[in-house]
Symmetry: C2
Subunit: 609 residues, 2 copies
């Protein structure tokens, strides 16, 4: 493995020298700042061997470094072994950030290269600033991978579908009306967006260009009269064409967006979100606006579409609640099947991949199922300490034995919503430490689920409700506590988010009723075991009185915690009450969806503790 990647990096260095580039950066990104990029965009993996969903490779003549976050420290260390690439653990003490690294290493007059289409505008501007400080420059026009990666997959291209109002709850005209109202308030004439889920949500369409993500590669420009959709020819169906005609959407070639921005008849300021357009698009838009007489400019603001999308409407909420019940019922059936199967000493042993396959099969039988929402994480023992582990037969695929813990994190894409759920299960005898850590995780999960908070609170305010039981024990999970979730869209959607660190210029948006957020604390002990409990929560109105308006959460995920892993010594009367109330709710809501045998199992799992 490692020599292959060392070889590829040498080729990259040769290409860099030819282009006069002193450092070349390859992020994990497509042209749309998507979290999960299509295979065509896996250049970082191609060069480094690291397969995680987040990471940035920087190659210099004498050094190559890869930055990734806490979810991937263990996995990346393994995958990079022997490649000579230095692993930079983002946020760890003493580890320079990418910015600090460039500041230190880039010599005066040097050139930093990257494909400007794969870097969000905000990041590109930050890099521009660094290189200006270093009296150097950027080369953003070259995708050096293209000349080296011989069998690089083509851009994905699949037909687009139109989603009916029964699923969306709001037609395109209403959505465009709301967007244009914000454009008016901001005094802008046009709006551009390259964020795929924003575009899908706004136009009520879905694609299948990215595994587990029902999106189509596209860009959009909306002004007060027209909508311009930039999309590959092969994606445009007859249905989309009629729909576009009906709603005055002009369909234009995907690749023409940047050129269009320079010839478009700008009649005033243009609105955009720096996280929703690439640096190349920013340069093109700024160039186009700059050509106009008068004072036309680019007004940057957190995307109003992103905010609209995050607050689910009544139809979406009703669909999502039903969807989560059906999904939870399958999780219950799966857990019962798995624990009984592993306990059955006469049966054939089960491996991680087989368990995942079984769950995926069961989920695919749910009504309105379209796809998984991500590759199922089915992890036994120490494998569960890797937050984003994937079992691969023949490579890493542990046999589940009747002892210790098993973690399963999975979800589905349905016409009625996107699900995401993690449960950790005892497969047999467990240690006291496992029980302690599981109970702490359960308490974290429940304390956040039980929160009552003032309207205006953000995830940064609430995060400590989940972490405080951990912190008191000197433990911490190196990731956020929660992320937003789309409606038949991305399984990670922002806003909202729940994490304690606040980044300047990226203030969290306050919670609003109708937002959906995950609650997924965990304990990860490298080489030993991993625990995560993930329950998806809906933000709801709680009470309004003379003190103000209070919000709270309702759990959408309804799958019991594992009572075999609960050590009551770590419960308080309050958290015990929360646990029993949750289990009672699970029993009431999920019972009708189960067979008699599964019902019996659920009753036993949800007895008060």
């Amino acid at each position: 493995m490692s020599t292959i990647h060392a070889d590829r990096i040498e080729k990259l260095r040769a290409a860099m020298e030819k282009s006069g580039i002193d450092a070349y950066m390859i992020p994990t990104a497509d042209y749309h700042n998507s979290e999960y990029a299509a295979d065509h965009f896996h250049a970082r993996e191609y060069f480094s061997g690291f397969t995680g969903s987040a990471g940035t490779l920087v190659v210099r003549p004498d050094e190559a470094c890869l930055w990734t976050d806490g979810r991937y420290f263990i996995q990346a260390a393994g995958e990079l072994e022997g490649s000579g690439i230095i692993l930079m653990k983002t946020g760890e003490p003493g580890v320079p950030s990418l910015e600090e690294y460039l500041d230190q290493k880039m010599e005066e007059g040097s050139v930093l290269g990257f494909d400007g289409r794969c870097i969000p505008c905000r990041e590109g501007k930050a890099l521009e600033k660094i290189m200006k400080r270093r009296k150097g420059s950027l080369n953003t026009a070259s995708d050096l991978a293209d000349g080296i990666w011989a069998d690089r997959p083509a851009l994905p291209c699949h037909p687009v579908m139109v989603l009916e109002d029964d699923y969306t709850g709001e037609d395109i005209e209403s959505k465009l009306g709301r967007l244009r109202e914000v454009m008016r308030q901001e005094g802008t004439e046009s709006y551009i967006d390259s964020k795929l889920d924003n575009i899908m949500w706004l136009l009520n369409i879905r694609g299948e260009d990215v595994t587990c993500n029902p999106v189509a590669l596209a860009h959009i420009l909306v002004d007060h009269r027209n909508v311009y959709l930039f999309i590959q020819d092969g994606e445009v169906t007859g249905e989309l064409r009629s729909y576009a005609a009906l709603h005055r959407i002009s369909i234009l070639p995907y690749d023409d967006f940047e050129d269009f921005l320079s010839i478009y008849d700008h009649r005033g300021d243009m609105l955009c979100d720096q996280d929703c357009i690439s640096y190349s698009i920013y340069l093109a838009a700024a160039g186009g606006l700059g050509k106009r007489a008068g004072n036309c400019g680019l007004i940057t603001k957190k995307s109003p579409v992103g905010h609209f999308k995050s607050v689910k409407n009544g139809v979406e909420i009703a669909n999502i609640r039903g969807c989560y019940k059906r999904d939870s019922a399958v999780m219950c059936r799966f857990i019962r099947w798995l624990t009984e199967r592993v306990a059955d000493t006469d049966a054939e042993p089960v491996r991680e991949s087989e368990a995942a396959g079984r769950l995926d099969q069961m989920r695919s039988e749910i009504s309105d199922f379209m796809d998984l929402s991500f590759a199922t994480i089915s992890a036994y023992g120490p494998n569960a300490a890797m937050m984003h582990y994937e079992a691969v037969p023949g490579v890493s695929d542990a046999e589940l034995r009747p002892e210790g813990m098993y973690l399963v994190d999975s979800g589905g894409q349905y016409l009625t919503g996107t699900t995401d759920v993690t449960r950790t299960i005892a497969l047999g005898p467990v240690t006291d430490d496992m029980k302690k850590h599981y109970t702490l995780t359960a308490v974290s999960n429940l304390q956040l689920m039980g929160a009552v908070f003032m309207d205006g609170c953000t995830g940064a305010n609430l995060d400590i409700l989940a972490r405080e039981p951990m912190w008191r024990e000197g433990l911490d999970y190196k990731c956020g506590t929660g992320h937003g979730i789309g409606y038949y869209l991305g399984v990670h959607e922002s806003p909202p988010s729940i994490r304690w660190k606040v980044f300047p210029g990226r203030l969290d948006e306050p919670f609003e009723p109708g937002m959906i957020v995950s609650d997924e604390p965990g304990v990860y002990l490298e080489g030993k075991y991993g625990i995560r409990i993930e329950t998806i929560l809906e933000v709801v109105d709680h009470i309004e009185n003379e003190s103000g308006r209070f919000l709270s959460f309702e759990p959408l995920t309804l799958v019991p915690f594992d009572r075999n892993l609960i050590d009551p010594d770590y419960l308080t009367p309050y958290t015990r009450k929360l646990l029993n109330e949750y289990h009672e709710r699970v029993r009431i809501e999920i019972m009708p969806l189960l067979s008699a045998a599964d019902q019996e199992w659920l009753i036993s799992q949800t007895e008060p503790i």
Copy 2:
């Protein structure tokens, strides 16, 4: 009262018309963005009658409005009654902010007037932006109060003292060295500051120009060679003159600062904090820099001096710990005296002002006592619902009866530190609701005190530990949970702070060991009663392990909670443990400072619950 103020406002309107001003704004501020301003600066009170420590008056030809925050809603409503001035409750639903109000009310081409010396730079720039949007302008050169307020007090002017290293723990050269190091890092040649406590801290001097605040009116410019101190002649003692000579500090007239900025030989960029200079100074500095050839500019950054000041050094911490013990012992003696006196049916009744006077007298006998740190809040029954109540004989001065609750919030200025403490006490029979609300407040106080948190956390992360028990009951206190505290300086000092609302552009600084912060949740029921428990906390190192570095708090204030007000039904095993541990600590630390009779009382008050 009200006709006096109506009359004054009419005079102001006449002056406005003469100066061509359409709206005149009077903040509660001196030239230094001080929280408490000297009498000379009480123009807002002169015109409106509102005596609170925070509020902004805006007068227009047909309307006058006063904005103030939650601490003063009740008081302001009373003081403004009949004046015709509209009370604007900041942050309440439907109440426009000052900015929104100006946006709505200022007509195109209109002029907003204020004394630019009394508005911090950041605010002035925001107002500039609003008026630009309204196609209007600012008039910042006129202090209209000057022509109307006949017997306006002169600027205060008192001699300045030099504070010895035994108290400061760091000499001026070391402090200047640290500041210049930051100036170097930022690539700047000079630094300006008008924040009085910053200047006192940096130069190791103290003044007495503001009641309860040991500061002298001053401005400062520091460059890599010199220090220029702008201060009134009457403040300069022989001691200060020698000290200044020794440390190459040029003493210049207080009023010359703005002029100096325009003639100063700027050799490069100038560093400043937008919250530490006035809008007038900003204009003068920008003007001076603008005259230079080359690219000299004003670099704005959170004041490094403010940050240095907030992290107390070893000498300061040792002094503060001793200071808080002595101050706490006096609080114990006071509480015992008061409860026994009120319970004694043969004794003369005590009024609020008398109780305050007794406490102030007791405090003044503590070693190193210099002044109170603010006017003692001595509030019985419904008066305690006003967060910043002050008893005034003949005006409002309730008799303490042997029933219900009494709240006392007080503190001292000592050479060894600044104290601030609030306790709420039962004076006789209390209702179940009082006990419930007191216990919730105690739990809030203890949960925050007992926090363990990762290095990097801010007050916005921790605030919910205090509020969560309240929010669950549908209660909320309309103020922050905690503020930083100076060392023989301001009783309110920032950073740090503990509050859940995060304002864009004003991110809280993370906690660091050596920071000192108050923990003061409360329940305030207008017309009924008020409860506040305020314990001052020191940030300390907790543990460092593979999860990272954890911090926690140690209480500096050591005064028992009132066990007569604790309803154990609202305690959990965890919070009961915190309470008993705190009481044990109080007993151990404070016993040696008390007489035998007081010791007996303390033992009874600190028995485990």
